[in-house]
């Protein structure tokens, strides 16, 4: 089986802290990492390969340094990698991103399965997976929390929903986006780390993908970011004081005044 895992390099949200005064982000010295969800996608791909044979190719679109994330994925056990990088790709929305990734996937064809993370933790759209599937004319399932069975021409999965889960059977080739519940990613192996250093990673620019500038990056995007700003946090905080009994009482009175609880606790002391 040939499994393609799409991964994105993102700023490490764990290192991002909130400034308690200004409520803005403190991003000093934040490193780039593989989008956390994509490690679950990679692990899911590696497990299928380990069981059924074949290979896992990791694919990313990003700036030249996104190659580091591909090498990291190889250290986890990915067999091959491809980097889509070009100044013209900058500023892509999910429409242009899925277009470019689809062209990249076509370079790697044939394949049986594409795996994506549920969403990337910077853009947070969760639109690239479904968009990519549609571009390639593939059936897909999102929020996959379990792969029940993989056969030659089909896959059975569980999709996480608000109130439980759905069981689906999908004809291959197909695309899945996965949630963290799906597995526990392995750690990079020594052998993998060695291979990550030397592995050749092909690089494709817009011309290699047969894309013109109007189809990729900012100019190929239908959505436009008009404005980016810090969220207003208009919360006035009140720390309740006194003995526990009084604090709790004051809390209920406040919540009652805000019409958040139906009970009248005023007389309870």
């Amino acid at each position: 089986m040939h499994i393609i895992v799409c991964l994105k390099q993102v700023p490490d949200a764990r290192q991002v802290r909130l400034d308690p005064e200004t409520h803005t982000l403190i991003r000093q010295g934040v490193e780039s990492i593989i989008n956390p969800y994509d490690l679950y996608a990679l692990e899911a791909g590696l497990r299928i390969r380990d069981e059924r044979g074949g290979k896992v190719t990791v694919l990313t679109m990003g700036p030249p340094q996104a190659e580091d994330s591909l090498r990291e994925a190889i250290s986890y056990g990915a067999d091959e990698a491809a980097l889509l990088s070009d100044r013209a790709f900058a500023g892509a929305d999910t429409w242009a991103t899925s277009f470019t990734l689809a062209r990249g996937v076509e370079k790697l064809a044939p394949f049986d399965l594409i795996l994506c993370g549920k969403q990337a933790v910077d853009g947070d759209t969760a639109q690239v997976g479904p968009g990519l599937a549609e571009r390639l004319g593939l059936p897909y399932a999102t929020w996959v929390r379990k792969i029940e069975a993989v056969e030659e021409d089909r896959i059975r999965v569980q999709r996480l929903m608000d109130d439980g889960y759905d069981r689906l059977e999908i004809t291959l080739p197909a695309l899945l986006t996965v949630v963290k519940e799906i597995n526990e990613p392995r750690v990079p192996s020594l052998k993998g780390k060695m291979r990550a250093k030397t592995q050749k990673i092909p690089l494709y620019g817009a011309a290699d993908l047969g894309a013109d500038a109007g189809q990729v990056g900012l100019s190929g995007s239908y959505t436009q970011v008009m404005r980016v700003f810090a969220p207003v946090r208009r919360r006035e905080r009140e720390m309740l004081q006194g003995p526990v009994e009084k604090q709790v009482h004051d809390l209920w009175v406040n919540l009652k005044n805000r019409q958040l609880i139906p009970f009248d606790v005023a007389g309870s002391r």
């Binding site: 700023p11 949200a13 764990r14 991002v16 909130l18 308690p20 803005t24 991003r27 780039s32 700036p63 340094q65 900058a90 500023g91 999910t94 910077d122 947070d124 759209t125 969760a126 639109q127 479904p130 599937a133 549609e134 999102t142 929020w143 059975r156 999709r159 996480l160 608000d162 109130d163 439980g164 889960y165 069981r167 689906l168 999908i170 197909a174 900012l218 100019s219 239908y222 959505t223 436009q224 970011v225 008009m226 404005r227 980016v228 700003f229 810090a230 969220p231 946090r233 919360r235 006035e236 720390m239 009994e245 604090q247 709790v248 809390l251 209920w252 919540l255 609880i261 139906p262 606790v265």
Partner: protein, 398 residues
């Protein structure tokens, strides 16, 4: 053509605010002036903050304007197991306002089985027309059938705006439909406004785990499509004598391959109240120390008529199923009241709940970041505080 950030070094005063605000570490200072590297995504945060107006994001070349044949506001009305999702009513209320501003009609698209009751409900909540596709193949949700059905409805009705709930279903298949009809899609919006003059939908959404907000438009293509987070918009009052009509839509099934087959729908929530739709959520964290102490959370939630949430710490400890997890890797919630008990408030948890209207935090550590977002804070031992909360509520007749 390659797009790069435009920096006017003559205007730049070297204040470095752009460097500190960049979400992607794409800016650095060289000789007192900002330098942009390849990490730049042209998000515009620097342009926004620059006091000198020295930074500009290049504009995409304006192509042909949007197709004027597209008129009207449409919402996708989600139903599951015959129950219309609350967010559909919220969208109708907002959709009415947008439609009135634009002077157009408000329609709804409803897919599933036995839709008469749900369709009438949508009319009562303000739809002028409800398009229904009543078919056993739409009884359960598959991206393929839903995506194709909505695409066909859009191509036929041609709305200029399409809104759907940012639910697991909406966020799953709406990107397929947007790709099929060839338009932009804004994810998980929390605010919608109209620029009436340009007939542009201004779509505001959190990104970066809720730590930055972005206003996004789709100037060239129609419809302008957005998924909207449940519970951030208000639901309107139903009318007793709705004037709208129900219009069955004839779906062409020939392009639907059936490559995705829904085998089974399994309902799994152990609680009566659904987390995503709850008005009140009581959440427990690692401070509970043991699985059995979640009974305190459950009891309080029950008394308040709320749902039970949990931090990742509590879920990873195996005290409660993942379905209850709130935060970046769990559910995003926006209840009226969120009570966080023994939850430290890691930023990944905060982004999932900080849009709650009122937040109560109970934690023994006065430095816990959860207090940064709290409306009311109690510093204390939860094993004293929560039993006292329960006692007083019960005494008050709860």
């Amino acid at each position: 053509m390659s797009a790069t950030l435009l920096i006017d070094t003559d205007l730049c005063s070297g204040c470095e605010s752009c460097v500190s605000v960049c979400p992607f570490s794409a800016l650095s200072m060289a000789d007192g002036k900002p330098l942009v590297n390849d990490q730049c995504t042209l998000c515009g945060a620097c342009a926004e903050i620059c006091p000198e107006g020295a930074i500009r994001v290049p504009e995409a070349a304006p192509a042909a304007g949007p197709d004027p044949a597209y008129r009207g506001v449409m919402i996708f009305a989600e139903q599951r197991l015959g129950r219309v999702a609350e967010v559909a009513f919220e969208l109708l209320h907002k959709g009415r306002e947008l439609a009135d501003t634009l002077g157009v009609t408000l329609t709804a698209a409803l897919l599933g089985r036995e839709l008469d009751g749900p369709a009438r409900e949508l009319l009562r909540y303000g739809a002028d027309r409800v398009y229904t596709v009543d078919d056993p193949r739409l009884e359960g949700f598959t991206d393929e059938a839903y995506g194709e059905a909505l695409t066909q409805i859009i191509r036929s009705v041609k709305p200029e705006i399409l809104l759907a709930g940012a639910t697991p279903i909406g966020r799953s298949f709406i990107p397929k439909t947007a790709t099929q009809v060839g338009t932009g899609l804004t994810a998980d919006c929390t605010e919608l406004e109209i620029d009436a003059e340009k007939r542009l939908l201004l779509q505001t959404r959190p990104a970066f785990g809720g730590n930055i907000m972005a206003t996004i438009t789709c100037p060239q293509r129609r419809p302008q499509m957005a998924t909207v987070r449940p519970k951030v918009l208000k639901k309107g009052a139903p009318s007793d004598s709705p004037a709208g009509e129900i219009v069955p839509f004839n779906l062409d099934w020939s392009g639907i391959s059936g490559k995705t087959r829904l085998l089974e729908i399994v309902e799994e929530l152990s609680e009566k109240v659904r987390l995503a739709e709850a008005d009140v959520i009581v959440a427990g964290g690692r401070g509970l120390q043991e699985a059995k102490h979640f009974s305190l959370i459950r009891e309080l939630a029950e008394l308040l008529g709320g749902a039970v949430g949990a931090s990742r710490g509590a879920v990873d400890s195996g005290w409660i199923p993942y379905a209850h997890q709130v935060g970046q890797t769990g559910k995003t919630v926006a209840p009226k009241l969120y009570v966080a008990i023994g939850v430290s408030g890691a930023v990944q948890h905060l982004v999932g709940m900080q849009s709650a209207e009122t937040i109560v935090a109970i934690n023994s550590d006065p430095q816990a970041p959860i207090f940064d977002v709290a409306t009311y804070g109690i510093v204390g031992d939860l094993f004293e505080v929560v039993p006292e909360m329960i006692r007083q509520l019960k005494a008050a007749g709860g």
